[in-house]
């Protein structure tokens, strides 16, 4: 059989930027247009947060833990966005027939993934802020912010690493079929557990927490908790500076990984002709 010809894509910074904006646009604007989604995106995590807050109250936990739960509940929105809005997205685009159009268009697939990531990040940040606001008011959470800029920097670095991970996963998930749905579904409770969404990861013990640090939210959230809660540093896993260094390494690794896997996925898809194949 004749080997397929691999065509390199022309690079243009302007086209790259346009693609990023074009893909981010429906994420940001479309998500705001569907108001009922905003309601559910805030209401559902708030129900879970409330349930865990009442568990802590039932067992007489210190109030700091209530704050941990509220922050964890807000950060879950990002993880869900990574799973369903990033990792599974290319698979869904394939199912709906859009992926072939993305590939045929003379733009970079990295730009499409980046647009998805930026759009998802902005839309999800709005929801996460509302969850924190509502949760803090409902449960009277006390904050003691050490430095706004340190918090903002930590948050942004966490997002870069997290969405880099999402970009990488989207290529992997694309090569799966029905397994993609099940894997995304599976990567919820175990990640909630190992990332310490509802308790400090220090509670898991050093080695488990160290292993869990491969998930950017684990270390990112631990660092942010140390920066915003009065007793935060007491519950911290590592020094904030070390956690920031881990996030930098994860960011670089995941973005390079995303680039490599995307190219590998394209090559494989072209060679095996599976790019637009839909297996039910």
């Amino acid at each position: 059989m004749k080997e397929p010809v691999e065509v390199s894509r022309p690079y243009s910074a302007k086209l790259f930027l346009q693609t990023v904006i074009a893909r981010a646009y429906p994420r940001v604007i479309g998500a705001q247009r569907e108001r009922s989604w905003m309601f559910f995106d805030v209401f559902l995590p708030f129900l879970s947060v409330s349930a865990y807050v009442f568990v802590y109250r039932a067992i007489g936990a210190p109030e700091t833990y209530i704050g941990f739960v509220v922050m964890g509940g807000a950060m879950i929105a990002f993880w869900m966005n990574i799973l369903w809005g990033m990792s599974s997205q290319l698979y869904w685009e394939k199912e709906q027939g859009n992926l072939a159009l993305y590939i045929m268009a003379p733009n970079s697939m990295m730009a499409i993934l980046l647009g998805m990531a930026l759009g998802g990040m902005v839309a999800t940040t709005l929801r996460a802020l509302v969850i924190i606001l509502v949760g803090s008011l409902a449960f009277n959470v006390q904050f003691a912010l050490v430095s706004f800029w340190a918090l903002l920097g930590t948050f942004l670095l966490t997002m870069v690493a997290l969405y880099g991970m999402g970009m990488m996963f989207s290529s992997i998930f694309l090569m799966l079929n029905r397994e993609a749905w099940h894997l995304a579904n599976l990567a919820q409770e175990p990640i909630f557990l190992f990332s310490g969404f509802y308790f400090p990861i220090k509670s898991l013990g050093f080695w488990i927490a160290a292993g869990a640090s491969i998930i950017p939210l684990s270390v990112g959230m631990d660092a942010m908790r140390q920066l915003v809660f009065p007793d935060g540093p007491t519950f911290g896993f590592l020094d904030v500076r070390i956690e920031l260094a881990i996030l930098v390494i994860l960011s670089i690794g995941f973005i390079l990984g995303a680039r490599y896997l995307l190219a590998a996925m394209e090559r494989l898809a072209i060679r095996e002709g599976r790019l637009t194949e839909s297996r039910r």
Binding site: S36, W37, L47, A51, F54, V55, A58, L186, L193, R280
Partner: protein
Amino acid sequence: MLGRLRTFRIAAWLGWQIESNWTDPFLFAVYSIVKPVAGAAILVVMYGVITRGDFSSPLFSYIYLGNAFYIYVGAVMAGISWAVIDDREHYKTLKYIYISPVRVPFYLVGRGVARFLTGTISVMITVMAGLLFLNLQLDLGTVNWLMFISALVLGVVMLANLGLLLAGVTLLIAHHFFLIGEAVASALYLFSGAIFPLDVLPDWLRPVGFAIPLTYWLELLRRALVGNVAEAFPTLSNFSNTQLFGILVGLTVGFGLLSTLIFRWCDHQARERGLIDMVTNY
């Protein structure tokens, strides 16, 4: 009646194939076990950190068992209502089911059986893990098995009714089918006292918990399994087991009638408005 049973049986077989044939049996077993065990582990870590590992406390048994049996809520309710989405949006076969000579509610309930089975395995593994590793105060020799099985069966019937109600609503909506099921399950998790005694809720929220059949179902299961430990919590301590069964039967019948009426109305509306073969790609 035989035709309805056949529909139920074939739908259950179909549901099992859809749920399980996407991967090899080992990965499927891992998938079925990891999620609920991880969910339980979150509560175990939360509890262990605060109480410094006092797993022999009655409160731990209360939380752990409530959480374990709550797995059935998601499994049965979502199993039934999700069949509408699967067949309408994904496989695009709901229209063929509707024109075939089957009773749709029996078909949908049958489709929920697969998740009920995987849910049962998850519940058993979660409870066994509690017994083996967490000093869960459950003595299998003192369990009131008759009460346990009666309550379990009654609860599954009640959950199937709620699942049918959700399936009816799902027939009419293009959007939010993920969210409505999840919202109902989360709200029930919060208000039924599944993982904390209802007394912890603010006064003005407690009546919601008392109106939900799940509250009584979980209480009966706990009483059947850990007897006096469960009765020690004040929320429902004034009720005898017979009274709890009476309330649960009453609410199950009430919700059953309501579900039937709502499903019939939604089913009629969906046919009238041409929604049976709707594909939203949403």
